[in-house]
Symmetry: C2
Subunit: 258 residues, 2 copies
DNA sequence: CGGTCCGTCTTGTCCGGACAATGTGACCTC
DNA sequence: GAGGTCACATTGTCCGGACAAGACGGACCG
């Protein structure tokens, strides 16, 4: 009965089928959004194809339209779908890389198959200087934890990491720091990382930095300063890091919210 | 009649007042979210203070609870509010910098009061090589626009910018490129920028780069490669840029979506 | 005094419906 | 044939209600 022929989201044998389990404790909208995301990821929903209108989709699944909209909206926020009033909802054309987690050097190296290792150079407490106090939003002179680490890949130095944390937030054990990344330790301590403000620059290596990182004096180094916040807006970490430019580059994705 | 005393969002003279205009074409939830955001921005809602429960807020404004929730949710997504079941919704503790737009060097310099200027070195079309084709998702050898620019601040060079764009997307006039940034031109051409994938690294300047940027050979340079996508997922620009590390650093904010 | 249970508060999820806004395509008119 | 007009399809906004889930405080009991 459709007056208009539309490019439907069809597989080889009909429309992609979704289903929800009402006995599951997982919210219905979340079940649906995961199935949609998986279908997009696996190419079952081709880029550019229309999803079919919300009301019919809701009826087919036995859900209400608000629930279906909530599922779709979460994927729109992720950049996987585009809604167009009067047209429909379609899959974006290019495969979108995932929004990229707050990059952890340890995880980055591990994912690249580089077998990261860590040498803890310092694990103590100190008084916050002006820069650290401003970054963490605490008083100058307040006690903070200070960790300095050398991160290695394949036995060669990649970066020198210096981190300051508010006192009492987490107890950092040197043995743990040698075996995993700082963010993993914080997450397993119940801290939910939420956002980070970063500044990335470059400069020439000093003699000391060169010795530490096995680079000649004057070699280009990548520098990053980062303040990380948890979900309540507290600053939970301030890092001041130096990377060998010959061994590392940052990759990340920015989303624009208009 | 409240059995519990809660830290309310109070000003000097009672709770902050909001109001909506039903005759306005602006959606109600958007009116409310803007007023909430402004109140947070101006400190009228103190960090950590509770917002008051949704049902009462809805009743006070003459709105339904879903509408109020939609307004609140948009601010939660922005990282300005935190919801806690059984507790309430509260303002995050630290002032959050805005999510940071897709950084435009031109806008960055202008915002810093640096009076940016642009010298267009090249404005032509060419065939996409393998790297450009892969980044833009087009065929190798396809026609692309190519622009090379030197960006100056206070008359001194800051960066060398090379951009490739799919053919036919936008007509770039050299005169316009000298006067504003590429992103502004694209936006005013009706292209809605959505996300970008970036890689930032560093390296030592070659002789030619040094001459172009007024740096000695071997000076540290910041490099960035960026592919920008519009809201349908099309790649609309691939940039390969080189910055003087002594004059520029990237600042940006990353959001973690759990 | 301490631990457990329970009630209450708040957000989370879900439903069904209604009307508005907008883009598309077909139809009609000139 | 060209242009404007109109109906239709689809998402956008908004409402009112219902129950569930989690968190906190206080009462109760050992």
């Amino acid at each position: 009965m459709g007056k208009r022929d539309t490019e439907q989201a069809l597989g080889a044998d009909g429309p992609v089928q979704f289903s929800v389990d009402r006995s599951s404790p997982v919210p219905l909208y979340f079940q649906l959004s995961q199935q949609l995301e998986a279908a997009i990821e696996h190419g079952k929903l081709a880029p550019g194809s229309l999803l079919g209108n919300e009301i019919e989709l809701a009826g087919r699944l036995g859900l209400s339209r608000p629930t279906v909209r909530q599922a779709i909206q979460s994927l729109v926020d992720k950049g996987l779908l585009v809604r167009r009033r009067g047209i429909g909802t379609q899959v974006v054309h290019s495969q979108v890389k995932r929004p990229l987690e707050l990059s952890s050097l340890y995880d980055d190296l591990e994912a690249a198959g580089q077998k990261p290792a860590t040498r803890v150079l310092l694990n103590t407490t100190t008084e916050a200087d002006a820069e650290v106090a401003a970054a963490l939003g605490i008083a100058e002179g307040a006690e903070v934890a200070l960790v300095e680490r050398l991160r290695l890949a394949h036995g060669e130095p990649v970066a020198h990491l210096r981190n300051h944390l508010p006192a009492g937030l987490i107890e950092l054990k040197t043995a743990e720091l040698e075996e995993t990344g700082l963010y993993r330790l914080m997450r397993s301590a119940g801290i939910t990382l939420h956002s980070a403000r970063q500044a990335v620059g470059a400069r020439a290596a000093t003699v000391e930095e060169g010795e530490r990182l096995d680079e000649p004096e004057g070699a280009p180094l990548l520098t990053m300063q980062r303040t990380t916040f948890d979900d309540t807006g507290r600053a939970v970490e301030f890092g001041s890091h130096v990377y060998r430019a010959s061994r590392y580059a940052f990759e990340f994705q920015l989303l624009v919210r208009p």
